[in-house]
C-alpha cells in the first residue's frame, strides 16, 4: 500500500491519508511529486479550473497582467463582504440609511467591510475594463475564441449593473440622485423607454419598490447570472486554450513558422503566417513540430498557482489598505426635494453624463451606450482579419484606442472638471468628485 518505510509509529497524518474515508474524498496519491500534483489538479473540481500544464509564456506577469484573475479575486472579495453586509442591511426606505449608520457604529468591522466592498467594486470595474483592453490588444478574441469574448462582454455589463444597483442601496443623497439621473436615461429609449423605466423602478418614482428591486437584482439575479456566465467563460478558456503562448502571438519568427493545430475547432480552417489557408491536419503532419513542445510548457501547479497566490494576496492587501485609508462616502439621507450640487453619476458612468451635456439624451444616453455594447458584441465576427500581430491590425488598433481614449477623456472631464450646474471647474480649485 504505502511505499514508506514502516517505522512502527505511523504518524496520525499518514494514518489519516490512508484511511478509507480520506481516500473516498481525495482519490489521488500524495502530491509531493509533479505527477501527484498533476493528477490531483486533474481530478479536483476546484483545481481543474487550471489546465495541468500551461505555456511558459503565461508565467510572465505582463503576458496577461493577470487582469482576469484579479477580477475574479475582486469578485470573491465582493461576494464575501457582500454577504456580511446583507446580515445588517434591510432594503426598506425607512431603514436602509439607518443601517448604514449602524454599520459604522454598532457592527464589528462594519464600516471597514463596507469600505472594502465599495473600493473592491470600483477596482473590479477597472480590472474588467483593462482585461477587455488587454484581450483586444492581444487579438485574443479571434478564432476560435470569438464566443468567449461575447461572454466576457456580458460579464462586463453584469459588473456595471452590479455597480449601478448597488449604488442605490445606502439610500443617501449620492445614491438617490445618481440613480435618478441613471434611470431617467432609460426614458429616452424610443417607444418603450418610459414603460421600461417604470418596470425597473416598480413605479414612476424612486421609492420603496425601486429600492427592493435594486436589492434583489443586486444580490440574487446578477449573482446567478454572473456565476452562469463565469462558468462558461472559464470552461471556454480551458477548451479553446490560452491565447498567450499560442503561436499566433509569438513574435519570434521560428515559432510562428512552426504554427500548427491547436484545437480541433481551429483545425479545419487555419491560416499560416503568410496568409495561406491550409488544413490544419495536413500542417500537423508536415510541420517540423509545434509550440506544445514540453519545453514550452510548465506545470500549472506550482508555477502558475504560486503566482496567482501572490497576486491574490496583493489584491486583498490593496483593498484592505484602501478600506482602512478611505471611508466609503455617506451623505445625508435621500431627499427627493433637494438635488445636491453637483449631482454626478458614479465615475464609470460620468463619461456618459458628460456626453449628455453636449448631445440629445436619445443620442448620448441611449444610442451611444447601445452602439458601444453592440459593437463590442459583434467585434469578433466583424473583424475577420485572422492575424493577431499588431503590424497587421493597424486600423483595428487605432480605432480601438481612439474610442477608448475618448471615453477616458470624457470620464476625466466629467469626474474632475465639473462642478455645480455642470459648470467647468478646475480640479485644483475645487474638486467635486464622489467615488
Amino acid at each position: 500500500m504505502s511505499d514508506r518505510p514502516d517505522s512502527g509509529t505511523t504518524s496520525w497524518r499518514t494514518r489519516l491519508q490512508e484511511s478509507a474515508v480520506y481516500r473516498s474524498v481525495v482519490r489521488t496519491p500524495p502530491f509531493d511529486s509533479p505527477r501527484g500534483r498533476a493528477q490531483r489538479a486533474f481530478g479536483n473540481v476546484f483545481l481543474h479550473v487550471y489546465p495541468v500544464r500551461v505555456p511558459r509564456a503565461l508565467l510572465r506577469f505582463r503576458s496577461t497582467w493577470r487582469l482576469g484573475f484579479i477580477s475574479s479575486v475582486l469578485f470573491a472579495i465582493l461576494l464575501i463582504t457582500g454577504v456580511y453586509l446583507m446580515f445588517f442591511y434591510t432594503p426598506a426606505v425607512s431603514m436602509a440609511y439607518g443601517d448604514m449608520q449602524l454599520l459604522r457604529s454598532q457592527v464589528g468591522f462594519g464600516q471597514l467591510i463596507r469600505n472594502v466592498h465599495r473600493w473592491g467594486a470600483h477596482l473590479m470595474v477597472l480590472a474588467v475594463v483593462f482585461h477587455l483592453v488587454r484581450v483586444f490588444v492581444d487579438g485574443a478574441y479571434k478564432a476560435p475564441r470569438q464566443f468567449n469574448w461575447v461572454i466576457g462582454v456580458g460579464l462586463l455589463v453584469i459588473t456595471l449593473a452590479y455597480s449601478f444597483t448597488g449604488y442605490l442601496l445606502p439610500w443617501d443623497q449620492l445614491a438617490y440622485w445618481a440613480v435618478t439621473v441613471g434611470s431617467d436615461l432609460v426614458q429616452y429609449a424610443p417607444g418603450v423607454g418610459g414603460w421600461l423605466r417604470n418596470f425597473l423602478l416598480g413605479g414612476s418614482t424612486i421609492g420603496q419598490s425601486a429600492l427592493l428591486r435594486f436589492y434583489v437584482i443586486h444580490v440574487a439575479v446578477l449573482t446567478a447570472a454572473f456565476f452562469a456566465l463565469m462558468a462558461v467563460h472559464l470552461w471556454r478558456l480551458r477548451k479553446d486554450g490560452l491565447a498567450v503562448g499560442d503561436p499566433d502571438v509569438a513574435h519570434d519568427v521560428t515559432t510562428r513558422a512552426t504554427e500548427a493545430v491547436r484545437t480541433p475547432v481551429a483545425a479545419d480552417a487555419h491560416w499560416l503566417a503568410d496568409g495561406r489557408r491550409v488544413l490544419g491536419v495536413v500542417e500537423t503532419e508536415d510541420g517540423p513540430g509545434h509550440a506544445r513542445e514540453p519545453e514550452h510548457e510548465v506545470f500549472a501547479w506550482p508555477h502558475l498557482l504560486i503566482r496567482h497566490q501572490v497576486v491574490a494576496l496583493a489584491v486583498i492587501a490593496l483593498v484592505l489598505a484602501l478600506g482602512i485609508a478611505f471611508e466609503a462616502p455617506l451623505r445625508e439621507l435621500a431627499n427627493p426635494n433637494v438635488t445636491p450640487e453637483p449631482s454626478k453619476a458614479p465615475w464609470y458612468f460620468v463619461g456618459l453624463q458628460e456626453l449628455l451635456a453636449h448631445f440629445d439624451p436619445l443620442v448620448a444616453g441611449v444610442l451611444a451606450p447601445a452602439v458601444l455594447v453592440g459593437a463590442l458584441l459583434l467585434l469578433p465576427y466583424v473583424d475577420r482579419n485572422p492575424s493577431r500581430r499588431p503590424e497587421d491590425r493597424r486600423v483595428a488598433l487605432v480605432l480601438f484606442w481612439t474610442i477608448f481614449l475618448a471615453l477616458v477623456v470624457l470620464t476625466v472631464i466629467g469626474a474632475l472638471f465639473r462642478g455645480p450646474g455642470w459648470g467647468f471647474v478646475l480640479p485644483w480649485e475645487h474638486l467635486y468628485f464622489e467615488p
Binding site: 453637483p342 450646474g421 459648470g423
Partner: protein
C-alpha cells in the same frame, strides 16, 4: 410530405417548451409589473392668488411643484427636470430655474432657456377658485417645446452656478 412520428414528437416538444417559456415569462412579467401609482394626486387648494407676487416662485412641498407668477400669469411648475429628473431649484439671484445636474435653465413660466433639456418644465393645471389657487396634481402637462419664450422676465443678473462659463 406528412411528418414522421419522430418529427411530430420533436416539433411537439419544441412548441411545448416554447409555450412554457412564454407562459413563465408572461406570468413573471405580470407579477413584476409596477402597481398603479397610489399617489395619483388630486386637487390641492393653496393660498389666495395675490399671495404669489410677480416674479416669485413658491415651492409647494406636498406636490413637489412651484407656484410662479410671470407676466401676471400663475403657473404650477413641476420641480422635476424634464431632462433627467433632477429636482430643479429656483435661483433668486437670476430669477430662473437652474438645474444642478446638467445646467438646464428655465424662466419663471417653466420655458426652456438653455441647457440640454428636451422641452420646458412640465406643469400642473392651475385654477383660481373663489380667489384661491387650486392645483390639480393628478395631471401633468408636458412642458412647452424648445423655442417657446412667452414668459421671459427681465434678467436679474447673477446665476446660482458658481462657474459662469458653462
Amino acid at each position: 410530405m406528412s411528418p414522421t412520428r419522430r418529427e411530430l414528437l420533436e416539433a411537439g416538444w419544441k412548441v411545448g417548451g416554447g409555450l412554457l417559456v412564454v407562459a413563465a415569462g408572461w406570468t413573471s412579467f405580470e407579477a413584476l409589473k409596477p402597481l398603479a401609482d397610489v399617489s395619483g394626486g388630486g386637487l390641492l387648494p393653496l393660498l389666495p392668488a395675490d399671495a404669489y407676487p410677480e416674479g416669485s416662485a413658491t415651492f409647494v412641498r406636498e406636490g413637489r411643484f412651484f407656484v410662479t407668477r410671470a407676466k401676471d400669469e400663475l403657473f404650477a411648475v413641476s420641480q422635476k427636470c424634464p431632462h433627467l429628473g433632477c429636482a430643479v431649484p429656483f435661483c433668486e439671484a437670476s430669477g430662473h430655474f437652474e438645474c444642478p445636474c446638467h445646467g438646464s435653465v428655465y424662466n419663471l413660466g417653466g420655458e426652456w432657456m438653455s441647457g440640454p433639456a428636451p422641452r420646458g418644465m412640465d406643469k400642473h393645471p392651475l385654477q383660481i377658485v373663489d380667489g384661491r389657487v387650486v392645483v390639480n396634481t393628478a395631471v401633468l402637462e408636458q412642458g412647452a417645446p424648445l423655442g417657446t419664450r412667452e414668459y421671459d422676465t427681465p434678467s436679474r443678473g447673477g446665476s446660482c452656478a458658481p462657474a459662469d462659463e458653462a
